[in-house]
Protein backbone atom coordinates (compact mmCIF):
# COMPACT_ATOMS: atom_id res chain seq x y z
CA UNK A 1 0.00 0.00 0.00
CA UNK A 2 2.89 2.32 0.76
CA UNK A 3 4.24 1.73 -2.73
CA UNK A 4 0.86 2.52 -4.23
CA UNK A 5 0.98 5.82 -2.36
CA UNK A 6 4.41 6.62 -3.74
CA UNK A 7 3.17 5.98 -7.26
CA UNK A 8 0.00 7.95 -6.57
CA UNK A 9 1.93 10.96 -5.32
CA UNK A 10 4.21 10.84 -8.33
CA UNK A 11 1.21 10.74 -10.67
CA UNK A 12 -0.28 13.70 -8.83
CA UNK A 13 2.93 15.68 -8.90
CA UNK A 14 3.40 15.05 -12.59
CA UNK A 15 -0.09 16.16 -13.49
CA UNK A 16 0.34 19.37 -11.50
CA UNK A 17 3.19 20.29 -13.78
CA UNK A 18 1.24 19.88 -16.98
CA UNK A 19 -0.96 22.54 -18.53
CA UNK A 20 -4.03 20.51 -19.53
CA UNK A 21 -5.31 20.43 -16.00
CA UNK A 22 -5.15 24.18 -15.54
CA UNK A 23 -6.83 24.87 -18.85
CA UNK A 24 -9.78 22.70 -17.91
CA UNK A 25 -9.89 24.23 -14.47
CA UNK A 26 -9.86 27.80 -15.78
CA UNK A 27 -12.66 27.08 -18.24
CA UNK A 28 -14.68 25.50 -15.44
CA UNK A 29 -14.20 28.56 -13.22
CA UNK A 30 -15.19 30.87 -16.08
CA UNK A 31 -18.38 28.88 -16.62
CA UNK A 32 -19.21 28.92 -12.93
CA UNK A 33 -18.40 32.61 -12.74
CA UNK A 34 -20.55 33.35 -15.79
CA UNK A 35 -23.62 32.04 -13.99
CA UNK A 36 -23.61 35.33 -12.17
CA UNK A 37 -23.90 37.33 -15.37
CA UNK A 38 -27.67 37.12 -15.61
CA UNK A 39 -28.28 40.36 -13.78
CA UNK A 40 -31.82 40.80 -15.17
CA UNK A 41 -33.02 37.98 -12.93
CA UNK A 42 -34.53 38.55 -9.51
CA UNK A 43 -32.22 37.81 -6.61
CA UNK A 44 -33.91 34.50 -5.90
CA UNK A 45 -33.84 33.41 -9.52
CA UNK A 46 -30.23 34.42 -9.78
CA UNK A 47 -29.30 32.28 -6.82
CA UNK A 48 -31.00 29.28 -8.40
CA UNK A 49 -29.18 30.00 -11.61
CA UNK A 50 -25.82 30.17 -9.86
CA UNK A 51 -26.44 26.85 -8.11
CA UNK A 52 -27.75 25.16 -11.21
CA UNK A 53 -24.90 26.24 -13.48
CA UNK A 54 -22.26 25.63 -10.81
CA UNK A 55 -23.40 22.11 -9.97
CA UNK A 56 -23.56 21.23 -13.64
CA UNK A 57 -20.23 22.91 -14.35
CA UNK A 58 -18.46 21.18 -11.49
CA UNK A 59 -19.89 17.85 -12.55
CA UNK A 60 -19.19 18.22 -16.25
CA UNK A 61 -15.68 19.64 -16.01
CA UNK A 62 -14.92 17.28 -13.16
CA UNK A 63 -15.91 14.42 -15.46
CA UNK A 64 -13.68 15.76 -18.23
CA UNK A 65 -10.76 16.01 -15.81
CA UNK A 66 -11.50 12.53 -14.44
CA UNK A 67 -11.57 10.97 -17.90
CA UNK A 68 -8.52 12.72 -19.32
CA UNK A 69 -6.35 12.43 -16.23
CA UNK A 70 -7.14 8.73 -15.83
CA UNK A 71 -6.48 8.06 -19.47
CA UNK A 72 -3.18 9.87 -19.28
CA UNK A 73 -2.16 8.22 -16.02
CA UNK A 74 -1.93 4.79 -17.62
CA UNK A 75 -1.49 5.34 -21.33
CA UNK A 76 1.36 7.77 -20.91
CA UNK A 77 3.29 5.22 -18.86
CA UNK A 78 2.86 2.74 -21.68
CA UNK A 79 3.50 5.12 -24.53
CA UNK A 80 6.61 6.61 -22.94
CA UNK A 81 7.67 3.16 -21.80
CA UNK A 82 8.22 4.34 -18.25
CA UNK A 83 6.12 1.34 -17.31
CA UNK A 84 9.03 -0.99 -18.17
CA UNK A 85 11.14 0.58 -15.48
CA UNK A 86 8.26 0.55 -13.00
CA UNK A 87 7.47 -3.11 -13.61
CA UNK A 88 11.12 -3.97 -13.02
CA UNK A 89 10.86 -2.48 -9.51
CA UNK A 90 9.84 -4.50 -6.46
CA UNK A 91 6.18 -3.63 -6.78
CA UNK A 92 3.19 -5.68 -7.85
CA UNK A 93 1.13 -4.66 -10.81
CA UNK A 94 -1.75 -4.13 -8.40
CA UNK A 95 0.42 -1.64 -6.51
CA UNK A 96 0.84 0.16 -9.80
CA UNK A 97 -2.86 0.18 -10.62
CA UNK A 98 -3.99 1.24 -7.14
CA UNK A 99 -1.26 3.87 -7.21
CA UNK A 100 -2.65 5.32 -10.40
CA UNK A 101 -6.10 5.32 -8.84
CA UNK A 102 -4.80 7.18 -5.80
CA UNK A 103 -3.12 9.69 -8.10
CA UNK A 104 -6.35 10.32 -9.98
CA UNK A 105 -8.29 10.72 -6.73
CA UNK A 106 -5.75 13.27 -5.52
CA UNK A 107 -6.00 15.24 -8.76
CA UNK A 108 -9.80 15.15 -8.65
CA UNK A 109 -9.86 16.18 -5.01
CA UNK A 110 -7.69 19.20 -5.62
CA UNK A 111 -9.71 20.33 -8.62
CA UNK A 112 -12.95 19.66 -6.89
CA UNK A 113 -11.94 21.70 -3.87
CA UNK A 114 -10.87 24.63 -6.04
CA UNK A 115 -14.12 24.61 -8.01
CA UNK A 116 -16.16 24.31 -4.82
CA UNK A 117 -14.33 27.15 -3.12
CA UNK A 118 -15.10 29.34 -6.08
CA UNK A 119 -18.74 28.31 -6.04
CA UNK A 120 -19.08 28.74 -2.28
CA UNK A 121 -17.40 32.12 -2.60
CA UNK A 122 -20.08 33.12 -5.09
CA UNK A 123 -22.84 31.95 -2.76
CA UNK A 124 -21.40 33.85 0.17
CA UNK A 125 -21.02 36.91 -2.01
CA UNK A 126 -24.74 36.55 -2.78
CA UNK A 127 -25.39 36.38 0.98
CA UNK A 128 -26.63 32.83 0.80
CA UNK A 129 -23.95 30.61 2.34
CA UNK A 130 -24.16 26.93 1.37
CA UNK A 131 -26.43 24.76 3.49
CA UNK A 132 -26.39 21.06 4.19
CA UNK A 133 -28.38 20.32 1.01
CA UNK A 134 -25.76 22.01 -1.14
CA UNK A 135 -23.02 19.99 0.49
CA UNK A 136 -24.96 16.77 -0.08
CA UNK A 137 -25.23 17.57 -3.78
CA UNK A 138 -21.51 18.36 -3.94
CA UNK A 139 -20.61 15.20 -2.08
CA UNK A 140 -22.51 13.03 -4.55
CA UNK A 141 -20.88 14.80 -7.48
CA UNK A 142 -17.46 14.15 -5.95
CA UNK A 143 -17.96 10.42 -5.53
CA UNK A 144 -19.44 10.22 -9.01
CA UNK A 145 -16.26 11.79 -10.42
CA UNK A 146 -14.13 9.20 -8.62
CA UNK A 147 -16.20 6.43 -10.17
CA UNK A 148 -15.88 7.96 -13.64
CA UNK A 149 -12.11 8.15 -13.19
CA UNK A 150 -11.88 4.56 -11.95
CA UNK A 151 -13.82 3.27 -14.95
CA UNK A 152 -11.54 5.06 -17.42
CA UNK A 153 -8.48 3.77 -15.55
CA UNK A 154 -9.77 0.24 -15.72
CA UNK A 155 -10.58 0.42 -19.42
CA UNK A 156 -7.07 1.78 -20.00
CA UNK A 157 -5.62 -1.48 -18.70
CA UNK A 158 -6.89 -3.40 -21.72
CA UNK A 159 -8.14 -1.04 -24.44
CA UNK A 160 -6.68 1.61 -26.72
CA UNK A 161 -6.95 5.31 -25.91
CA UNK A 162 -9.36 5.97 -28.76
CA UNK A 163 -11.70 3.24 -27.62
CA UNK A 164 -11.38 4.38 -24.04
CA UNK A 165 -12.31 8.00 -24.75
CA UNK A 166 -15.33 7.02 -26.82
CA UNK A 167 -16.38 4.40 -24.30
CA UNK A 168 -15.97 6.69 -21.30
CA UNK A 169 -17.98 9.51 -22.85
CA UNK A 170 -20.59 7.10 -24.13
CA UNK A 171 -20.92 5.68 -20.63
CA UNK A 172 -21.09 9.18 -19.18
CA UNK A 173 -24.02 10.05 -21.42
CA UNK A 174 -25.81 6.72 -21.20
CA UNK A 175 -25.21 6.62 -17.45
CA UNK A 176 -27.16 9.84 -17.18
CA UNK A 177 -30.00 8.54 -19.32
CA UNK A 178 -30.57 5.23 -17.57
CA UNK A 179 -33.98 6.12 -16.22
CA UNK A 180 -35.24 7.01 -19.70
CA UNK A 181 -33.66 3.81 -20.92
CA UNK A 182 -35.49 1.82 -18.28
CA UNK A 183 -38.82 3.30 -19.30
CA UNK A 184 -38.09 2.36 -22.90
CA UNK A 185 -37.17 -1.17 -21.85
CA UNK A 186 -40.41 -1.54 -19.89
CA UNK A 187 -42.39 -0.60 -22.95
CA UNK A 188 -40.80 -3.03 -25.41
CA UNK A 189 -42.73 -6.20 -26.25
CA UNK A 190 -39.80 -8.15 -27.65
CA UNK A 191 -38.61 -10.40 -24.82
CA UNK A 192 -35.04 -10.79 -26.02
CA UNK A 193 -34.67 -7.06 -26.42
CA UNK A 194 -36.22 -6.59 -23.01
CA UNK A 195 -33.83 -9.07 -21.41
CA UNK A 196 -30.80 -7.50 -23.03
CA UNK A 197 -32.04 -4.08 -22.04
CA UNK A 198 -32.49 -5.13 -18.43
CA UNK A 199 -28.99 -6.57 -18.28
CA UNK A 200 -27.53 -3.43 -19.80
CA UNK A 201 -29.54 -1.31 -17.40
CA UNK A 202 -28.12 -3.10 -14.38
CA UNK A 203 -24.53 -3.09 -15.68
CA UNK A 204 -24.26 0.53 -16.82
CA UNK A 205 -23.41 2.83 -13.92
CA UNK A 206 -26.43 4.91 -13.07
CA UNK A 207 -24.79 8.32 -12.86
CA UNK A 208 -28.22 9.89 -12.48
CA UNK A 209 -28.27 8.39 -8.96
CA UNK A 210 -25.67 10.95 -8.00
CA UNK A 211 -27.72 13.81 -9.35
CA UNK A 212 -29.75 15.51 -6.65
CA UNK A 213 -28.94 19.01 -7.81
CA UNK A 214 -32.27 19.62 -9.54
CA UNK A 215 -33.96 18.97 -6.22
CA UNK A 216 -31.48 20.98 -4.20
CA UNK A 217 -31.78 23.97 -6.52
CA UNK A 218 -35.53 24.20 -6.04
CA UNK A 219 -35.21 23.48 -2.33
CA UNK A 220 -36.52 19.91 -2.10
CA UNK A 221 -34.82 18.10 0.77
CA UNK A 222 -32.86 14.92 0.08
CA UNK A 223 -32.74 12.51 2.99
CA UNK A 224 -29.53 11.32 4.56
CA UNK A 225 -30.81 7.82 3.97
CA UNK A 226 -30.71 8.35 0.23
CA UNK A 227 -27.12 9.60 0.38
CA UNK A 228 -26.19 6.53 2.39
CA UNK A 229 -27.89 4.19 -0.07
CA UNK A 230 -26.13 5.77 -3.02
CA UNK A 231 -22.87 5.66 -1.10
CA UNK A 232 -23.20 1.88 -0.80
CA UNK A 233 -24.06 1.60 -4.49
CA UNK A 234 -21.01 3.68 -5.32
CA UNK A 235 -18.69 1.65 -3.13
CA UNK A 236 -19.81 -1.67 -4.59
CA UNK A 237 -19.48 -0.39 -8.11
CA UNK A 238 -16.06 1.08 -7.41
CA UNK A 239 -14.72 -2.10 -5.82
CA UNK A 240 -15.88 -4.19 -8.77
CA UNK A 241 -14.36 -1.78 -11.29
CA UNK A 242 -11.04 -1.75 -9.44
CA UNK A 243 -10.98 -5.52 -9.21
CA UNK A 244 -11.52 -5.75 -12.95
CA UNK A 245 -8.71 -3.25 -13.53
CA UNK A 246 -6.37 -5.18 -11.22
CA UNK A 247 -7.13 -8.35 -13.12
CA UNK A 248 -6.40 -6.88 -16.53
CA UNK A 249 -3.26 -5.02 -15.49
CA UNK A 250 -1.90 -8.37 -14.31
CA UNK A 251 -2.44 -9.88 -17.75
CA UNK A 252 -1.27 -6.89 -19.71
CA UNK A 253 1.84 -7.16 -21.86
CA UNK A 254 3.51 -3.89 -22.69
Amino acid sequence: MKKAWIIGLNTFKESLRRKTLYILLVIALIVIGASKAFSFLTAEEELKMIKDVSFSGIEFFGALIAIFMSLYAISNEIEKRTIYTLFSKPITRQNFFIGKFIGVVLILTLNFILMCLFFIGLLIFKKSPPDIQVSKALFLIFIELILIGAITLTVATFASDAFNIIFSFFLYIVGHLTSYGNQLIDRTENLILKGLGKILYSVVPNYENFNIRDKVVVGIEVSRNYIFKIGIYWLLYLVIVILIGSYFIQKREV
Binding site: K80, I83, L86, F87, S88
Partner: protein, 250 residues
Protein backbone atom coordinates in the same frame (compact mmCIF):
# COMPACT_ATOMS: atom_id res chain seq x y z
CA UNK B 1 24.49 -22.52 -9.12
CA UNK B 2 24.40 -19.74 -11.69
CA UNK B 3 23.04 -16.38 -10.65
CA UNK B 4 20.78 -16.28 -13.72
CA UNK B 5 19.42 -19.36 -15.45
CA UNK B 6 17.27 -19.32 -18.53
CA UNK B 7 15.75 -22.62 -19.60
CA UNK B 8 14.11 -23.28 -22.94
CA UNK B 9 12.59 -19.85 -23.06
CA UNK B 10 10.13 -19.21 -25.86
CA UNK B 11 8.07 -16.16 -26.60
CA UNK B 12 5.60 -15.81 -29.44
CA UNK B 13 3.79 -12.60 -30.14
CA UNK B 14 0.36 -12.93 -31.64
CA UNK B 15 -0.97 -10.27 -33.92
CA UNK B 16 -4.64 -10.65 -34.60
CA UNK B 17 -5.87 -14.21 -34.62
CA UNK B 18 -3.44 -16.13 -36.76
CA UNK B 19 -0.27 -14.19 -37.21
CA UNK B 20 2.48 -15.46 -34.97
CA UNK B 21 5.78 -13.66 -34.59
CA UNK B 22 8.71 -15.41 -33.00
CA UNK B 23 10.26 -13.23 -30.35
CA UNK B 24 12.40 -15.92 -28.76
CA UNK B 25 12.66 -19.62 -29.60
CA UNK B 26 13.81 -22.20 -27.09
CA UNK B 27 16.67 -20.17 -25.63
CA UNK B 28 18.76 -21.49 -22.75
CA UNK B 29 21.80 -19.92 -21.14
CA UNK B 30 23.13 -19.00 -17.76
CA UNK B 31 25.09 -16.14 -16.27
CA UNK B 32 27.65 -16.64 -13.54
CA UNK B 33 28.10 -14.40 -10.55
CA UNK B 34 30.48 -11.49 -11.14
CA UNK B 35 30.73 -11.73 -14.90
CA UNK B 36 29.69 -9.41 -17.70
CA UNK B 37 27.55 -11.32 -20.14
CA UNK B 38 26.76 -9.74 -23.49
CA UNK B 39 23.83 -10.56 -25.71
CA UNK B 40 24.64 -9.74 -29.31
CA UNK B 41 22.35 -9.82 -32.27
CA UNK B 42 21.04 -7.91 -35.24
CA UNK B 43 17.87 -5.82 -35.04
CA UNK B 44 14.83 -7.87 -34.18
CA UNK B 45 16.80 -10.86 -32.98
CA UNK B 46 15.03 -11.06 -29.63
CA UNK B 47 17.43 -9.30 -27.28
CA UNK B 48 14.89 -6.94 -25.82
CA UNK B 49 12.27 -9.67 -25.69
CA UNK B 50 14.62 -11.79 -23.63
CA UNK B 51 15.43 -9.03 -21.15
CA UNK B 52 11.77 -8.03 -20.77
CA UNK B 53 10.84 -11.62 -20.06
CA UNK B 54 13.52 -11.76 -17.38
CA UNK B 55 11.94 -8.83 -15.55
CA UNK B 56 8.40 -10.10 -15.76
CA UNK B 57 7.38 -7.32 -18.11
CA UNK B 58 6.33 -9.93 -20.67
CA UNK B 59 4.97 -13.40 -20.05
CA UNK B 60 6.79 -16.32 -21.67
CA UNK B 61 4.99 -18.71 -24.00
CA UNK B 62 7.03 -21.47 -22.36
CA UNK B 63 10.25 -21.98 -20.48
CA UNK B 64 11.69 -20.99 -17.15
CA UNK B 65 13.62 -18.10 -15.72
CA UNK B 66 15.56 -18.28 -12.52
CA UNK B 67 17.31 -15.25 -11.05
CA UNK B 68 18.99 -15.45 -7.65
CA UNK B 69 17.08 -18.65 -7.10
CA UNK B 70 13.70 -17.01 -7.69
CA UNK B 71 11.37 -16.67 -10.64
CA UNK B 72 11.07 -13.47 -12.66
CA UNK B 73 8.05 -12.13 -10.78
CA UNK B 74 9.52 -12.37 -7.30
CA UNK B 75 9.51 -9.07 -5.44
CA UNK B 76 12.48 -9.96 -3.22
CA UNK B 77 14.53 -10.86 -6.29
CA UNK B 78 13.71 -7.54 -7.90
CA UNK B 79 15.17 -5.70 -4.93
CA UNK B 80 18.55 -6.98 -6.07
CA UNK B 81 18.21 -6.22 -9.75
CA UNK B 82 18.62 -2.99 -11.68
CA UNK B 83 17.23 -2.51 -15.17
CA UNK B 84 17.93 0.00 -17.91
CA UNK B 85 15.40 -0.28 -20.72
CA UNK B 86 16.16 0.35 -24.37
CA UNK B 87 16.03 4.08 -25.26
CA UNK B 88 14.95 5.00 -21.78
CA UNK B 89 12.40 7.71 -21.44
CA UNK B 90 11.27 9.05 -18.13
CA UNK B 91 8.72 11.36 -16.60
CA UNK B 92 9.14 14.60 -18.55
CA UNK B 93 8.30 16.92 -15.75
CA UNK B 94 10.61 15.57 -13.10
CA UNK B 95 14.22 16.59 -12.56
CA UNK B 96 17.01 14.04 -12.35
CA UNK B 97 17.17 13.97 -8.53
CA UNK B 98 13.36 13.74 -8.32
CA UNK B 99 13.33 10.77 -10.64
CA UNK B 100 16.00 8.96 -8.64
CA UNK B 101 14.16 9.74 -5.44
CA UNK B 102 10.91 8.35 -6.79
CA UNK B 103 12.52 5.10 -7.88
CA UNK B 104 14.54 4.87 -4.68
CA UNK B 105 11.43 5.11 -2.55
CA UNK B 106 9.98 2.09 -4.31
CA UNK B 107 12.83 0.09 -2.78
CA UNK B 108 12.16 1.19 0.79
CA UNK B 109 15.61 2.76 1.03
CA UNK B 110 16.08 4.92 4.10
CA UNK B 111 15.68 8.61 3.30
CA UNK B 112 19.18 9.57 4.43
CA UNK B 113 20.93 6.75 2.64
CA UNK B 114 18.86 7.44 -0.44
CA UNK B 115 19.80 11.12 -0.53
CA UNK B 116 23.47 10.32 -0.21
CA UNK B 117 23.24 7.71 -2.89
CA UNK B 118 21.45 10.09 -5.28
CA UNK B 119 24.20 12.64 -4.77
CA UNK B 120 26.86 10.01 -5.51
CA UNK B 121 25.10 8.62 -8.55
CA UNK B 122 24.58 12.07 -10.07
CA UNK B 123 28.33 12.61 -9.84
CA UNK B 124 29.01 9.18 -11.22
CA UNK B 125 26.98 9.83 -14.37
CA UNK B 126 28.08 13.48 -14.54
CA UNK B 127 24.65 14.99 -14.14
CA UNK B 128 25.28 16.82 -10.87
CA UNK B 129 25.30 20.13 -12.71
CA UNK B 130 21.86 19.53 -14.21
CA UNK B 131 20.02 19.02 -10.95
CA UNK B 132 17.34 21.61 -11.64
CA UNK B 133 16.74 20.64 -15.26
CA UNK B 134 13.50 18.81 -16.11
CA UNK B 135 14.03 15.56 -17.97
CA UNK B 136 12.17 16.87 -21.00
CA UNK B 137 15.10 19.18 -21.64
CA UNK B 138 17.64 16.35 -21.41
CA UNK B 139 19.61 15.27 -24.45
CA UNK B 140 19.56 11.64 -25.54
CA UNK B 141 22.89 10.98 -23.90
CA UNK B 142 21.80 12.59 -20.66
CA UNK B 143 18.67 10.43 -20.61
CA UNK B 144 20.78 7.34 -21.11
CA UNK B 145 22.99 8.45 -18.24
CA UNK B 146 20.18 9.23 -15.82
CA UNK B 147 18.84 5.81 -16.82
CA UNK B 148 22.09 4.20 -15.74
CA UNK B 149 21.94 6.09 -12.45
CA UNK B 150 18.32 5.00 -11.98
CA UNK B 151 19.24 1.38 -12.56
CA UNK B 152 21.86 1.64 -9.81
CA UNK B 153 19.63 3.32 -7.23
CA UNK B 154 19.11 0.11 -5.24
CA UNK B 155 22.79 -0.86 -5.39
CA UNK B 156 21.77 -4.05 -7.21
CA UNK B 157 23.64 -7.34 -7.33
CA UNK B 158 22.58 -7.83 -10.93
CA UNK B 159 22.39 -5.15 -13.60
CA UNK B 160 20.39 -5.76 -16.75
CA UNK B 161 21.09 -3.18 -19.44
CA UNK B 162 19.38 -3.03 -22.82
CA UNK B 163 21.75 -1.28 -25.23
CA UNK B 164 23.34 1.03 -22.66
CA UNK B 165 25.40 2.94 -25.21
CA UNK B 166 22.83 3.65 -27.91
CA UNK B 167 22.67 7.39 -28.40
CA UNK B 168 25.94 8.08 -26.63
CA UNK B 169 28.85 9.83 -28.33
CA UNK B 170 32.26 8.10 -28.43
CA UNK B 171 33.36 9.67 -25.17
CA UNK B 172 30.10 8.62 -23.55
CA UNK B 173 30.63 5.07 -24.82
CA UNK B 174 34.10 4.91 -23.34
CA UNK B 175 32.86 6.29 -20.04
CA UNK B 176 30.06 3.74 -19.91
CA UNK B 177 32.52 0.99 -20.65
CA UNK B 178 34.77 2.11 -17.83
CA UNK B 179 31.78 2.33 -15.53
CA UNK B 180 30.74 -1.23 -16.38
CA UNK B 181 34.20 -2.53 -15.58
CA UNK B 182 34.24 -0.55 -12.36
CA UNK B 183 30.88 -2.04 -11.37
CA UNK B 184 32.14 -5.49 -12.19
CA UNK B 185 35.09 -4.90 -9.89
CA UNK B 186 32.61 -4.08 -7.16
CA UNK B 187 31.29 -7.60 -7.62
CA UNK B 188 28.18 -6.89 -9.65
CA UNK B 189 26.93 -9.23 -12.32
CA UNK B 190 26.04 -7.50 -15.55
CA UNK B 191 23.89 -8.70 -18.41
CA UNK B 192 23.81 -6.36 -21.35
CA UNK B 193 22.57 -6.37 -24.91
CA UNK B 194 24.27 -4.52 -27.69
CA UNK B 195 25.04 -4.43 -31.34
CA UNK B 196 28.29 -2.57 -30.93
CA UNK B 197 30.74 -5.39 -31.40
CA UNK B 198 33.83 -3.53 -30.24
CA UNK B 199 32.17 -2.55 -27.00
CA UNK B 200 31.12 -6.09 -26.30
CA UNK B 201 34.54 -7.37 -27.20
CA UNK B 202 36.19 -5.15 -24.65
CA UNK B 203 33.98 -5.59 -21.63
CA UNK B 204 32.20 -8.93 -21.83
CA UNK B 205 33.52 -12.08 -20.27
CA UNK B 206 31.11 -14.21 -22.23
CA UNK B 207 28.76 -13.52 -25.08
CA UNK B 208 25.66 -14.97 -26.68
CA UNK B 209 24.70 -14.44 -30.29
CA UNK B 210 20.99 -14.14 -30.97
CA UNK B 211 19.36 -14.26 -34.37
CA UNK B 212 15.68 -14.46 -35.30
CA UNK B 213 14.86 -15.46 -31.74
CA UNK B 214 17.38 -18.29 -31.64
CA UNK B 215 20.52 -18.44 -29.56
CA UNK B 216 23.15 -19.43 -32.09
CA UNK B 217 26.23 -19.59 -29.89
CA UNK B 218 27.40 -18.77 -26.40
CA UNK B 219 30.75 -18.88 -24.62
CA UNK B 220 33.87 -16.80 -24.16
CA UNK B 221 34.99 -14.93 -27.23
CA UNK B 222 38.08 -17.10 -27.55
CA UNK B 223 36.12 -20.33 -27.36
CA UNK B 224 33.72 -19.21 -30.01
CA UNK B 225 36.37 -17.89 -32.36
CA UNK B 226 38.15 -21.21 -32.16
CA UNK B 227 35.00 -23.21 -32.61
CA UNK B 228 33.85 -21.28 -35.67
CA UNK B 229 37.31 -20.73 -37.01
CA UNK B 230 36.70 -17.00 -37.22
CA UNK B 231 39.10 -14.04 -37.56
CA UNK B 232 37.56 -11.97 -34.81
CA UNK B 233 34.24 -11.05 -33.28
CA UNK B 234 32.94 -9.39 -36.40
CA UNK B 235 33.79 -12.38 -38.53
CA UNK B 236 32.28 -14.70 -35.92
CA UNK B 237 29.09 -12.67 -35.85
CA UNK B 238 28.69 -12.73 -39.63
CA UNK B 239 29.63 -16.42 -39.88
CA UNK B 240 27.18 -17.71 -37.30
CA UNK B 241 24.36 -15.68 -38.77
CA UNK B 242 25.10 -16.65 -42.36
CA UNK B 243 25.42 -20.31 -41.41
CA UNK B 244 22.05 -20.17 -39.76
CA UNK B 245 20.36 -18.42 -42.67
CA UNK B 246 21.83 -20.89 -45.16
CA UNK B 247 20.53 -23.82 -43.13
CA UNK B 248 17.14 -22.19 -43.13
CA UNK B 249 17.17 -21.78 -46.90
CA UNK B 250 17.88 -25.41 -47.54
Amino acid sequence: MSIIEIKELTKYYYIGRNKKIVGLENVSFSVEEGEIYGILGPNGSGKTTCLKLMLGILYPTSGEINILGKNQFDIEMKKNVGFLPENPYYYDYLTGPELLKFYGKLYDIQEKILNERIEKLLYLVKLHEAKKLALKHYSKGMLERIGVAASLINDPKILILDEPTTGLDPIGCIETRDLLLQLKNQGKTILLSSHFLSEVERVCDRIAIFHRGYLLATGTLRELIEKYNAQGLEDLFVKTINDFDKKGDR
